[in-house]
């Protein structure tokens, strides 16, 4: 009886802790959402704070779109994210396939190029990358935002490991059947690594959508801003209007939260794979 009671108590404590951590992790998002829905007449600094808006309204979302072209910025972010996904999925899977499944002279050196690139933090080369973009006349373009990470070395190595797990016999059988290397890549390779491809795609989207430092230094004209840079600008200019900043941040975060809700297990899997290799 007493052990049973102790078990119940333990479980209750566990749930209490879970709820506490939940409030810490998710509470700030909910508070931001609540702030974004509070109308101009409602005091956001009220004491004690009002957790729920009295008269929920979307006027802040309309207003933030009038002050900065927030929907254009969102579109820019979307373009950058989609381009990053496509380039990484195509480029990393092709390179990974060659490193894992093809034997050729210089393979070790090719792998070394990606390994070296992974050891160099982006922050330590960003000024030179900026100079490179200027030399290519790409400064202040969305292309420049995408290019440096568009075939990330980590993704190449992730894909290489995934392709390595395909049993040799399957490919040998295809060779006997006369399949050339491209056919094997498309018909045998890619279908076998769909899970890793999904991980690469999701993290490429998230990485591009969330990125801040590189777009901040490469984009100088506010017409080309991505959403994160636009938010930073909004914060700098209208810092005292918490409702507007809140609305802007909610616009930026909702797409990713929806994506996360739908594709959770790939996010979790990606953390495992990326961490082991990174």
């Amino acid at each position: 009886m007493s052990t049973k009671r102790r078990k119940h108590l333990g479980l209750a404590v566990r749930y209490l802790l879970l709820i506490l951590v939940f409030l810490i992790c998710v509470g700030p998002f909910l508070w931001q959402l609540s702030t974004s829905l509070k109308g101009a007449t409602e005091n956001v600094y009220s004491d004690p704070p009002k957790l729920l808006p009295e008269h929920p309204t979307f006027e802040n979302y309309k207003k933030v779109g009038e002050i900065i072209p927030v929907w254009d910025y969102a579109l820019n972010s979307l373009k950058v994210a989609v381009a990053n996904v496509l380039a990484n999925v195509v480029g990393a899977s092709m390179a990974g396939y060659a490193l894992a499944r093809l034997k050729f002279r210089g393979r070790k050196y090719a792998a070394l190029v990606f390994l070296m690139a992974m050891l160099v933090p982006g922050e330590s080369i960003m000024i030179a990358q900026l100079t490179t973009m200027r030399a290519l006349d790409l400064q202040n373009t969305l292309t420049a935002v995408v290019l440096p990470g568009c075939v990330a070395a980590l993704n190449v190595l992730l894909m290489r490991n995934a392709f390595r797990n395909i049993p040799e016999e399957i490919e040998e059988a295809a060779v006997v059947d006369g399949a050339n290397v491209w056919q094997r890549y498309f018909r045998i390779g890619l279908p076998a690594v769909k899970g890793t491809l999904a991980v690469v795609a999701i993290f490429a989207f998230m990485g591009a959508w969330d990125d801040f430092l590189w777009p901040l230094i490469v984009l100088t004209d506010d017409a080309n801003y991505t959403l994160t840079i636009g938010l930073n600008f909004l914060h700098g200019t209208f810092a005292n209007n918490q409702r507007l900043v809140a609305a802007g941040t909610i616009i930026a975060v909702v797409p990713l939260i929806v994506m996360f809700a739908c594709l959770q297990r790939y996010f979790f899997r990606g953390v495992g794979e990326g961490a082991v290799k990174g």
């Binding site: 749930y15 922050e123 000024i127 996010f267």
Partner: protein
């Protein structure tokens, strides 16, 4: 694992299948007959590697070597500059901002890394046990990881406002108001809190995988020996996930030393009062960008940044090896 994959990647595969079609078609005519015995033509591996190698060489490795070279020049944004030997490094030694940046970035490592090694482990232990609703909590704890650092930073700027939610809570227990965002050290501390808060879920997932590999019998044996929860944690859990702790220490120390966004958002682009909150990456960004950017000097600071991250990595793994002996 792979068979479990469903719609999203299926759609993607179908899409890709028609797109690169022309590429494989173009490859075929180049191939004369009689190559059937070989598994591929000699040039095709490089065709596969071309996009990846080209991007990596042009936009990652070339800039890396350019950074090394430029650090010995007085290059500016609009001038290629000339060789000046070690001038930039000498200037660094006398540059107060450099030492402030080095101090703040190092402090970030010292405070953030122990939190990242311990708190996510405790969190992983909390969500490890299969109880009803646990999947919901795991996902919820991961939410801050998904959000952009800018979103997260701005949310906390509002939370930690002098009249924000945190101070409202503090008031009910008779503290404050705490001026999180105007004192030099409190700004840095606030940024660290944001970094840890955002990283918790990420490292939690890593620790969850590690916890699954700790043999249950060890816990049972410890129970039989009458070990309490604290004792079990230190003598069973910690040794069991040791390798993962080292990995997390390595990952989080490099990440912490490279900190930019959190501090930039909380302290402002000038790095807080009198620039005292500037981190090393903030300094690189400030010195090296803009029309009058000092590319040479910024490259020299970048090089120091790179060397320190490398040393941090080596130090973590060296410490681990020494511990094992």
């Amino acid at each position: 694992m792979k068979t479990a994959v469903t719609t999203p990647s299926d759609g993607g595969a179908a899409e890709r299948a028609d797109r690169p079609g022309p590429a494989s078609g173009a490859g075929a005519p180049r191939r004369p007959g009689g190559s059937r015995v070989r598994t591929h033509m000699a040039h095709s591996p490089w065709a596969f590697l071309l996009p990846g190698i080209a991007v990596t060489l042009v936009f990652n490795l070339y800039p890396f070597f350019a950074t090394i070279w430029k650090s010995f020049t007085d290059a500016r944004t609009l001038a290629p500059g000339t060789f000046v030997g070690l001038d930039n490094f000498q200037e660094m030694l006398n540059d107060e901002q450099f030492w402030i940046g080095l101090r703040n970035s190092s402090l970030y490592v010292v405070v953030v890394v122990p939190c990242m090694v311990l708190l996510p482990l405790l969190l992983a232990m909390l969500v490890h046990k299969q109880i009803p609703g646990i999947a919901f909590f795991r996902s919820a704890f991961y939410t801050p990881v998904v959000a952009s650092v800018v979103v997260v930073g701005l949310i906390w700027v509002w939370m930690l406002d002098e009249r924000g939610l945190v101070n409202a809570v503090f008031k009910t227990i008779g503290i404050g108001p705490v001026k999180f965002l105007s004192d030099q050290w409190l700004i840095l501390l606030s940024a660290m809190i944001v970094t840890v808060w955002k990283g918790l879920g990420y490292y939690m997932i890593i620790f969850m995988a590690a916890l699954g590999n700790v043999p249950r019998e060890l816990y049972e044996a410890a129970n039989v020996d009458g070990a309490g929860p604290v004792r079990r944690f230190w003598s069973v859990t910690v040794p069991g996930v040791r390798n993962t702790m080292v990995l997390v220490a390595a990952l989080s120390s490099v990440a912490a030393f490279r900190v930019f966004s959190e501090v930039y958002l909380m302290a402002g682009q000038d790095g807080g009062p009198a620039g005292e909150d500037t981190t090393l990456v903030m300094l690189v960004q400030r010195v090296g960008t803009g029309l009058s950017g000092r590319v040479g000097y910024a490259s020299a600071i970048s090089l120091v940044l790179f060397v320190i991250t490398l040393v941090l990595l080596l130090a973590v793994f060296a410490a681990e090896r020494r511990d094992k002996k």
